[in-house]
């Protein structure tokens, strides 16, 4: 792997890195508002983004560097099973079409910055809102760590970062620099920095995919050749399991896993705080709906990207760590300068989501832990200050995680994070449509889902790991192998419904609902909904 530094590729990579760094700092002046010391400004970019900025921001946010590395890596490792990412992203958009505009409206009306703000306002329960906030932070942290794993994979293939024998400081220095710079401009520019950088990131990604999907198959002799050699590779027996390595289509038994993974992941995606942060930063309700019709362009790109996994096999890329398959494919196939562009695309692809995720986690902490539990009378200026500092801490935490622990730990936690975040679905999406669920029942359902999901994931063994070996397990009562997160979610829902009946029966207090039905359909410009928002705290006086 570390067969010397690829000078040209590195130079191109550094060029783009310096470019986005400059943009990141200049972003603070982009569409600057009069009062910049509010969480609406720093944490939501002034809630001012139109259709295209939102499109780039959401695309840059959801399709992370880790996605670019991990999806083809899964295909490279096992074939069809890894392709579930495509139906997953197909299902996301019709799904969010139904509920995201409602969340936007109610958040705009009441000045909510996070999903927990909404849950608090809707159900009048600090406990439930804390549960949602903590789940969000826990699920986001390993996700940030994985962005670092993405950058590391690229640095590794470029030959920077040294070999096994260099000391840890020299080895990790490039990563430390990249992260230090990221932390600095996120601190100063807030959400505007990733929004501006997302333009560069997505443009690079689209160019790289377009070139890769034409250039590499031509060099390898066409898709016939590629799939023929993939078929051959998958039929070889894996010595660890005694079974074939993979297959070109899912087996009968694998179809449940495939479908449940796609559905469960689609339900979970917009529960993640960073997805919501990017959503709430848009200017109007229409921007969100319009985006559900143009965001699928990214799904198409993801599908093409996944095919690179087959190309890596056909090109004879042999790596122990599947994460390196795609960067290595680029290095082998492309001229050095274009490999540099491709690496820059992945590297910047890590910076954008990492920035948004740290902002989202910081907002959750500030609004739903700091303000609700520590300092209820915090001014907007203090809120912003706390959020900025927490965004730094979150990043340092993720960095420490990656540097001190094995990569598989980050991946395990990311897997758990997906299962966990899905458990906030009943409170959030349920709450957007009905007040029928009882707040304590929602807490009960959430707790059951969290515990079941964690225990079930702990019990999954793989040839290389005793615990957290995968995200699929036998579904109790059905007997098929399915996504643990979805099983936990169904369990969560059942418990919530049953407990709601129980709470109703014993007349447990319902809590105050601060929202009214017309809040959910309000758009910017309606009476009572200023196009220009009041300061972040005004709408949600606690």
């Amino acid at each position: 792997m570390n067969d010397g530094v690829n000078g040209v590729a590195l130079a191109v990579f550094i060029f783009f890195f310096v470019l986005v760094t400059a943009m990141g700092f200049l972003a603070a002046r982009w569409r600057k508002a009069a009062n910049e010391h509010t969480l609406d400004e720093w944490g939501l970019g002034g809630r001012s983004f139109g259709t295209w900025v939102t499109w780039f921001l959401l695309g840059g946010d959801l399709y992370t560097a880790y996605t670019f590395v991990a999806v083809p890596a899964a295909i490279y490792a096992a074939g069809a099973a890894g392709f579930f990412a495509v139906p997953y992203t197909i299902l996301v958009y019709p799904l969010i079409f139904t509920f995201l505009p409602r969340l936007w409206s109610v958040s705009h009306k009441h000045g909510y910055v996070t999903t927990s703000d909404f849950v608090h306002g809707r159900f009048g329960s600090k406990g439930l809102s804390l549960a949602v906030a903590v789940t969000g932070i826990l699920a986001t942290m390993p996700y940030i760590a994985l962005q670092l794993v993405g950058i590391q994979a690229v640095l590794d293939v470029m030959g920077v970062g040294g070999g096994e024998d260099t000391n840890w400081f020299v080895k990790d220095l490039p990563l430390l620099i990249a992260f230090g710079v990221l932390a600095a401009y996120t601190y100063s520019s807030g959400l505007r920095a990733p929004a501006l950088i997302a333009f560069v990131k997505d443009t690079l990604i689209y160019v790289v995919i377009a070139v890769a999907i034409i250039y590499i198959p031509v060099k390898l002799g066409g898709f016939d050749e590629i799939f023929a050699s993939a078929r051959e590779a998958y039929s070889e027996t894996n010595p660890a399991t005694g079974a074939p390595r993979g297959s070109l289509v899912p087996s009968e038994a694998g179809q449940w896993t495939y479908a449940t993974l796609a559905l469960g992941s689609a339900l979970a995606l917009f529960m993640y705080p960073h997805s919501i942060t990017a959503t709430l930063s848009s200017r109007s309700r229409e921007v969100i709906r319009r985006n559900t019709t143009i965001l699928p362009l990214y799904s198409l790109m993801l599908g093409l990207l996944a095919l690179l996994g087959f190309m890596a096999i056909a090109a004879g890329v042999k790596v122990q760590n599947g994460q390196l398959a795609i960067p290595q494919l680029f290095e082998n196939m492309f001229p050095a300068w274009f490999a540099g562009v491709a690496f820059a695309a992945i590297g910047i692809g890590a910076l954008v989501p990492a920035a948004i995720m740290s902002i989202a986690a910081a907002n959750l902490f500030t609004r739903n832990i700091y303000k609700d539990f520590i300092k209820p009378d915090a001014t907007p200026k203090q809120e912003t200050k706390v959020s900025k500092i927490v965004s730094l801490l979150v990043k340092v935490g993720a960095l420490a995680f990656v540097l001190t622990m094995d990569k598989t730990v980050a991946i395990n936690f990311q897997l758990l994070g997906g299962i966990w975040i899905l458990q906030t679905f009943p409170a959030l999406v349920g709450g957007l449509f009905t007040r029928w669920f009882h707040r304590w029942a929602l807490i009960g359902g959430w707790a059951v889902g969290m515990v079941y999901g964690t225990v079930a994931a702990y019990g999954v063994a793989s040839p290389t790991q005793k615990h957290f070996g995968g995200s699929a397990k036998e579904i109790p009562g059905i007997g098929e192998i399915g996504y643990i997160g979805l099983t936990a979610f169904v369990l969560n829902l059942v418990v919530t419904v049953v407990l709601t009946f129980v709470m109703r029966a014993c007349k447990a207090p319902e809590g105050v609902d601060r929202t009214s039905p017309e809040d959910y359909t309000a758009d910017a410009g309606d009476p009572g909904v200023d196009a220009k928002l009041p300061p972040a705290t005004a709408g949600s006086a606690h």
């Binding site: 139906p87 197909i90 019709p94 070109l248 009968e252 709906r289």
Partner: protein, 88 residues
Amino acid sequence: MSQAPETKEGPVVTPVRVVIALCLAAPFVAMLWVGSYAKTDPVVIGIPFFYWYQMLWVLISTLLTMVAYKLWQRDQRARSAAKGGDPR
């Protein structure tokens, strides 16, 4: 702007809304029924059916979501016009 607090909404379920629901539900049926597309043939330009079919569905579901969006917009305009407000 819809200034009058008129609550004379039309019926909740209308033919247009049923079409919208169908447009949004179709991708779920198609994608979750994995058995319907878990096969390699027919191969197109060397790509097995399993892969190109799902990528084709990216386009189909995009079109369906666009149709749903347009119909929804029209539905909302008609409703706010009926309420005597600005058609937005």
